[in-house]
Symmetry: C4
Subunit: 313 residues, 4 copies
C-alpha cells in the first residue's frame, strides 16, 4: 500500500531487467518497453478493475436476485475482498485504487506529484471498464428485473431501479450536509486506518504483509458501519467511472441529476476526508518522515511540489 | 498489545529522535515536543476513538435501518473489527483501549502504575468524542427513527429508543446478579484470551503479529456468545464515555437510571473480571515474569507499587 | 498443534527454569513445582474450557434468543473461534482439546502414550466445568425459555428443550448407521486437515503459525457442511463433559436415553474417524517420520508402545 | 499454489529420502516406492477430494435443511474454505485442484506438459469420490427431501430436485451466450487473482504463505459476486466428476440434458477463461519469466512443448 515502496521497487527493477537473459531479449520487443514505462498505471488499472468487478458484481447479484443469493452483509464482504484482491493485483504500484489515497500519499508520504494524474486516470478507466463487464454479465438478469430490455432506471425514479449496481445514490432522508459529512467521515476513517495499517517503522507498529487482509476488514467495517446513508462511495474512481458507464449504457441523465446532483459529492468529499485523515494520523501518531514533522509543517513543500517531486523520483 | 513492548518502544524512541535530520529540526517545534510527551495518550485516544466509531456506528446502522443494512451478526463484526483497527491505530501505546486491560497489565505485566490514570482518561475521552461524531453522522436517521428532532429515548421507556446505539442496556429478564456475572465472565474471557494471544515467549506460544486479527475473533466471539444479556460493555471507556455523551445529547437522566442504575456495572465488573482472568492465566499457564511467579505471589509489590513502577520506567 | 513440539518445549523448559532469578525463587514455592509438573494438563484443561465457553455459549445465545441474537451461521462461527482461541490458550500442551486428536498423535506422531489418559481427563474436566459456567450465565434466560425455573427438557421430549445447548442430539430422520457415519466422516476430515495444516516439513507445506486461524475455518466448515445431522460432536470431551454436567443440572436421564442412547456415538466414532483420517494422510501425503513410513507399517510399535513412549520422552 | 515450487520440491525430495534412517528402510517397501512416484497425483486427488467434501457438503446441508442450517452465504463460505483446506492438503503438488489452473501453469509458468493429464485425472477422480461420500452421508436427508428413497430429480424437472447438490445448473433466464460468458468471466478472475496472489518476486508483491487464506476470499468473492447465474462451476473436475457420480447414483440422463446440454459449458469455458486471465496478468503485470516476456511471446514453445517440458523436469 505504501507509495514509497512502490516507487522504490520501480527504481530497483529498471537495472536488473537489462542484464538477465530472457528480459534482455524482451527489452528489444516493443511491448516490453511499453510495459516498463506503464507498469504502474497498468497495476492501478487492474487493481481498480478487480475492485469494481467484485464490488459492483456483488451488488448486482444481491439486488437482482432479490436478496436470495446474498444479503447486505455479502455486499460488505464483496467490497472488502474486492479491495483486498485489488491491492494484491495492483501491488506493483502501491495499490492505491483511489485518487484520494494517491493524493494523501503525495502530500504526506512524498509520493511524486507528477504521478498523481496518471494514477487517477488509470483508476477511473479501470473502474469504468469493469462496470461495463459487470453490466454485460448481468444484462439478462437486469432485463428481467427492470421488466424489459430497454428499461433502465435510477433509484428514486422507479421501484425496480438498477443504476445502484454501478454507483452510489444516497438514502432519501439525507440532507446535503449529511451526505457530505457521511462521505467525509468515512474517508477520514479510510485514510487514518490505511496509514495505521502501514504503521510506523520507528514504533514497530502496523500490519506488515497482513495489510491487504486488514483492508478487507477496514472496508467491511466502513460498509457495515457507515455504508447505509450514502453507500460509501469514498472514491472518485469507484463512483465516477461506473456512473459514467451507466450513463453511456442508457440510464439517462438521471444518473447525474438524481438526489439533486448528488454525483459530485463522492467525487469531492473523499479528497477532503483523506487529507484530513492523513493529517490526523501524522499529527498525533506518526513519527516517521512527514511534512508535519518538518518545519513550517511542510507547507513550503506544498508551494514548490515539482522540484520536490523531481528529487524524490 | 503488550504494555512492556509499548513502554520499551517509547524509551527506545527518545534518543534517535534527536540525531537524524528532519526530527532534529522538528524537535525545535513546540508541537513535536508535546507529541513526544503525549505519544501514548494520543495513541490510546485514537485507538479507542476508532473502536467506538466502528462499534457505535454499526449499532446505529443496523438499528436505524431496521436490520435492513445489517443484522446482529454485523454488530459482532463491527465491534470485532473496531478493536482490530483500534489496536493497530493505538499500537504505539500497546493498544489497551480499555482501563481494565491497562489495570491488568499494571498488576501482572509490570506496566507502570503512574501511567494508569493517563491511559484511562485518554480512553474515556476517545470513546466520548467518537460517540459524538457517530451521533452527528446519524442525526437525521435518528430523527426519523425516534419520530422527531427533539425526541431522544432510552430502552425500556419507548419502543423507538436509540440510546442503545451509544452504550449498553441489559435485557429485561436479567437479575442484578446475572448482569454483574455476565459482564464478569465476559471480562474474564477477554483478559485470559488477550494474555493467551500475547503468548508466552518461554513456551513459544501466542499469535505474534496476528494478535490484532485474533482480537477480531475474540470480540466477535464475546459478542456472539455472551453479547445478548448485557450487550458486553466489558470496558469502562467504551460504555461510560458514550453514555456521558448521550446524556449531554439530551437522552435525559434515564441513561443513568435505566434498569435500576445499571450504568455502574459495565464500569466496575470489567476490572474484577480482567484481574481474575489475568490471575487465572498467570497462575495456570504463564511461565514468564509475573508476580504470581515471584515469592509471596508478588503481593509485596502490590503494597509498594510506586517504587516498583519507578524501577520499570 | 503438534504433539512433538509440545513435548519438546516442556523438556526445553525444565532446565532454564532453575537458573534465572525469579524462577529460581519460585522453584522453592510449592505452587511453582506443581505447575511445572501439571503444565500440560492445565493447558489442555483451559484450552478445552475456552472452546466450550464459546461453543456452548453461542448455542445458548442463538437458541434462547430465538435466533434474534445470531443464526446457525453464528453457531459455526462460535465453535470455530472457540477452537482457535482454545488452541492459543492451550499452546503449551499442543492444544489437542480432543482425546481423539491426542490418540491420533500417539499413534502417528510419537506422542507419548502415557500422556494420553492425563490429556483426556483434563479435556473432559475442562469441558465439564465450562458448560457449568455457561449454564450459570444463561440460567435466567433458560428459565424464561423453558417456562419455569425447574423445567429442564431434552430435544424430542419438548418443544422448548434446552439440553441441546450443552451437547449434541441427532436430527430425527437419522438412522443409527447414518449417525455413526456422519460423526465418522466429520472426524476423518478433522484429523486429515489438522495433519495437512501442520504440514510436512520435507515438502515445505502446512500453515505454520496460521494453524489456529485455519482451524477456525476447518471447524466453521465442518459445522457448515456436516453439522446438521448430528451437530458434529466429533469430540468425546466436548460432548461427554457437558452432557454429564447437564445430567447433574437436572435434565434427567433423557440426556443418556435420548434418540435410543445416542450419547455413546460422539464418544466412540471420533476415535475411529481420527485414526482413519490420520492413516489416510500418512499413507498418501505425509513423508516425515510416521509408523506408516517404517517397516511393518509401525505395527511392531503398536505392540510395545510403552518402551517406545519412554524413548520419546 | 505455484507449479514451479511444487515440481522443484518433488526434485529436492528424492535425494534425501535415501540417506536418512527410517526413509531408507521404507524405500525397500513397495508402498513407499509407489508413493514416491505418485506423490503429486495423490496430493491433487486429496486436495480436490477435500474441496468437494466441503463444497458439495455445504450445498447439501443448506438445501436439504431448507436454509435452516445455513444460507447462500454459508455456501460461499463452504466452497471458499474447501479450496483453502484443499490447497493445504494438496500442497505437495502445488494444489491446483482444477485442470484449467494446471493448464494455465503449463502455458505460463513452465509447468511440465506431461504432468497435465495425470493431474487432470487425479482431480476428476478426487471430485468423483468425494461427491459419492457426500451422497452417502446425506442419503436419508435426500430421501426425505425428494419424498422417497428411489426419487432422484434434476433442477427444472421437479421442485424438490437435489441434483444441484453435486454439480451446477444455470438459472432459467440465462441465454447460452450468457452462460458461457458468466463462466468465462469467473474463470478469468480466478486465474488473474491466483497469479496476483502468487505475486511477482521481482516486484515483491503477492500473498506469500497467506495465499491459501486469500484463496478463501477469492472463492467466497466469486461465489458472492458471480455465483448466481451459473453456480460458478469454473472447474472441469469440480463439475464433471460429481455430475458423473450423480448420473451413476440414478439421477438419470437429465444431468446431461438439463438446460439444453449445459453440462459441457463448465467443462470448456474455464480453460478459455483461465488462459485469458493468465494472459492478461502476464501481459500487463508480471515481470518474471513467462512466455509473454520472451521473443515471439513464447509461441515457439507452444509449438514444441515436449522438448521444453523435458528441459524443465
Amino acid at each position: 500500500m505504501t507509495s514509497k515502496e512502490s516507487s522504490h521497487t520501480s527504481e530497483k527493477l529498471s537495472p536488473p531487467i537489462t542484464d538477465d537473459g530472457p528480459e534482455q531479449l524482451s527489452d528489444r520487443l516493443a511491448w516490453s518497453r511499453i510495459r516498463q514505462t506503464l507498469r504502474e498505471p497498468f497495476a492501478e488499472f487492474f487493481g481498480t478493475f478487480i475492485l469494481i468487478m467484485f464490488g459492483d458484481g456483488v451488488v448486482a447479484q444481491v439486488m437482482l436476485s432479490d436478496d436470495q443469493k446474498g444479503s447486505y452483509q455479502s455486499i460488505s464482504w464483496g467490497w472488502g475482498l474486492g479491495v483486498m484482491l485489488g491491492v494484491y493485483s495492483g501491488g506493483a504500484s502501491g495499490g492505491h485504487l483511489n485518487p484520494a489515497v494517491t493524493l494523501a500519499n503525495c502530500v504526506f508520504r512524498k509520493f511524486p506529484w507528477r504521478k498523481f494524474p496518471i494514477y487517477a486516470l488509470a483508476q477511473v478507466l479501470g473502474a469504468f471498464c469493469a462496470s461495463g463487464i459487470v453490466y454485460a454479465n448481468y444484462k439478462s438478469a437486469i432485463d428481467v428485473y427492470e421488466g424489459g430490455a430497454h428499461i433502465r432506471t435510477v433509484p428514486g425514479y422507479s421501484d425496480t431501479a438498477t443504476a445502484g449496481i454501478f454507483c452510489t445514490y444516497p438514502a432519501v432522508f439525507m440532507t446535503r450536509t449529511g451526505q457530505f459529512f457521511s462521505e467525509f467521515i468515512a474517508s477520514v476513517l479510510l485514510m487514518f486506518c490505511i496509514f495505521a495499517l502501514q504503521g510506523d517503522s520507528r514504533l514497530g507498529t502496523g500490519a506488515g504483509n497482513f495489510t491487504p487482509l486488514c483492508l478487507f476488514f477496514l472496508f467491511f467495517g466502513i460498509g457495515a458501519c457507515f455504508g447505509w446513508e450514502t453507500g460509501y462511495g469514498i472514491n472518485l474512481a469507484r463512483d465516477f467511472g461506473p456512473r459514467l458507464m451507466s450513463f453511456f449504457l442508457g440510464y439517462g441523465k438521471e444518473v447525474w441529476t438524481a438526489s439533486n446532483y448528488y454525483f459530485w459529492i463522492p467525487m469531492v468529499a473523499p479528497f477532503f476526508g483523506c487529507l484530513f485523515g492523513g493529517l490526523l494520523y501524522d499529527t498525533f501518531i506518526f513519527t516517521g518522515e512527514s511534512p508535519i514533522n518538518t518545519p513550517w509543517m511542510g507547507l513550503r513543500r506544498l508551494v514548490v511540489p515539482d522540484r520536490k517531486a523531481k528529487v524524490d523520483s
